[in-house]
């Protein structure tokens, strides 16, 4: 398999905050259309890893490639790469002063330089994708958490990214709202979107992920297909971890 089959290559990423070594050499490759899920205890650097990928946090060491082009040390070109790496945040981070549709179209207008009519049409299309078209003219404060998160997914989708990073997208939501967001994510995965997802939702991980990476203390402790990690007796760490708070792999 040559390099071009990978959308994203992550090689030996290290990151420390002061004396705290958060990431201690993380490497993985992502193929187009793949969903990788990152599981693990809090504070093991999962979110930091996602932020390193689009350089919101600068790694101390290691390299990242998107479609064969190096993202790390790309200087001002990082704004170009970030357009192709969507990100969805735990707390949505919708632009509070803009309606749903304007949230989605803002970067189309300001970054892509798209015309008003075209941007509006695309924004509405993306809102339809996540079932939020009827809420297009509502402000973030008027939306439920689940609705807000769906709008933020539409905002990421609008840039036609090569990959979307989901940073605990449902951790701020109750089970009901979690379900509606996961439903949207499942559909995206089916449609072939490439996704990296940090989550505690084992049900989602097991049913959607092509690969689960179980992270602990800044390294990938175990990795493999969900079935393998859950049932192969050689793998114990992740089973121990999920057993600690649940005991079953979720719905």
């Amino acid at each position: 398999m040559n390099d071009n089959d990978y959308v994203l290559r992550v090689e030996d990423i290290h990151k420390s905050f002061g004396d705290m070594e958060v990431l201690r050499g993380i490497s993985f490759d992502v193929q187009r259309g793949e969903t990788k899920v990152f599981i693990g205890p809090s504070g093991t650097g999962k979110s930091t890893l996602l932020r390193c990928i689009n350089q919101l946090t600068l790694p101390d060491r290691g390299r990242i490639w998107l479609d064969g082009e190096e993202v790390t040390n790309s200087g001002a070109r990082i704004n170009y790469f970030r357009q192709k790496i969507g990100m969805v945040f735990q707390n949505f981070y919708l632009f509070d002063h803009l309606t749903a549709v304007r949230n989605v179209e803002l970067a189309l207008l300001k970054v892509r330089g798209m015309g008003r009519a075209e941007a509006r049409e695309k924004a509405l299309t993306e809102l339809r994708q996540v079932g939020m078209e009827e809420w297009a003219d509502h402000y973030p404060a008027e939306l439920s958490g689940g609705q807000a998160q769906r709008v933020s997914i539409a905002r990421a989708l609008a840039m036609d990214p090569d990959v979307i990073l989901f940073d605990e997208p449902t951790s701020a939501l109750d089970p009901e709202l979690t379900r509606e967001v996961l439903e949207v994510m499942r559909r995206l995965a089916r449609q072939g979107m490439t996704m990296l997802v940090v989550t505690h939702e084992m049900g989602f991980a097991c049913s959607v992920a092509n690969e689960i990476l179980f992270m602990e203390n800044g390294v990938v402790a175990e990795r493999g297909a969900p079935d393998m990690l859950l049932h192969d007796p050689r793998f114990t760490r992740m089973k121990e971890f999920i057993g600690r708070f649940d005991g079953r792999p979720g719905d």
């Binding site: 689009n54 919101l56 704004n79 170009y80 790469f81 970030r82 357009q83 790496i85 969507g86 990100m87 945040f89 707390n91 981070y93 919708l94 632009f95 509070d96 002063h97 803002l106 970067a107 300001k110 970054v111 402000y139 973030p140 404060a141 008027e142 933020s152 905002r155 990421a156 840039m159």
Partner: protein, 225 residues
């Protein structure tokens, strides 16, 4: 001649000072805005030298009595810069504006800093440059947050503008004192002047509060719980 007819006779003259006073106020507010906003951006996002420079500016213009500033510029700084020909009106407006910029910069700085951190992160994650993010995401929110505090600048500058009396700008107070000198009627004239100031104050604040309501966004800013 009774007091009432003196008042009526001189009232149009007194009112002509309203235009000058409003001219001072709008010029000063405008200059304060044009300087204060970039200063606030510089103080939040700028390099260390930029931040120090703004700090020194704010320290200087907030640290001196307005009358002292006015005399410094009128008698010293502007003539020293070869700008001795500037009219008293221009000097008054500029000094009020420079001083207002110091205050406005701190109003905007506070507002910018109170925009949630995630807003910038989300904007950058979409590929916006820092400048675009500031312009399209941070400032529209910061301006709304700043507006109630900024509204204070109008009565501040309006009342401060009377200090331009000291360098002979033909604003309200200057005209009032001229009328007093001419007619020897004092309290009614100054009371009328005070009345005009109060009406101008009320009207301006009414407009600003209207503006606050107009740009308000559901669940966001001063009105939000």
């Amino acid at each position: 001649m009774d007091v009432l007819s003196i008042l009526i006779d001189w009232f149009p003259y007194l009112l002509s000072g309203v235009a000058v006073t409003l001219g001072l106020v709008f010029a000063a507010l405008g200059l304060g805005f044009l300087l204060g906003l970039p200063m606030a951006i510089g103080q939040v996002y700028g390099s260390r030298p930029v931040r120090s420079l703004v700090g020194v500016y704010v320290w200087f213009f907030r640290g001196l009595p307005i009358l002292v500033l006015l005399f410094l510029f009128w008698f010293g700084i502007f003539p020293g810069l070869g700008l001795g020909d500037l009219s008293a009106f221009v000097v008054g407006a500029v000094v009020l504006g420079l001083r207002g910029a110091a205050y406005q910069s701190q109003i905007f700085r506070g507002a910018i800093q109170s925009v949630a951190e995630g807003q910038m992160i989300a904007a950058r994650s979409l590929g916006m440059s820092r400048l675009t993010a500031i312009r399209s995401v941070i400032l529209p929110q910061a301006m709304r947050i700043a507006l109630p505090g900024w509204s204070n600048e109008y009565p501040n500058i309006l009342t401060d503008s009377a200090v331009c009396y000291a360098i002979g700008v033909a604003e309200l107070l200057t005209l009032a004192s001229r009328i007093v000198a001419q007619t020897n009627v004092m309290m009614p004239i100054y009371l009328a002047t005070a009345g005009i100031f109060i009406i101008m104050n009320y009207g301006g604040l009414k407009v600003l509060h209207g503006l606050e309501k107009r740009v308000a966004i559901p669940g966001f800013g001063a009105g939000a719980v």
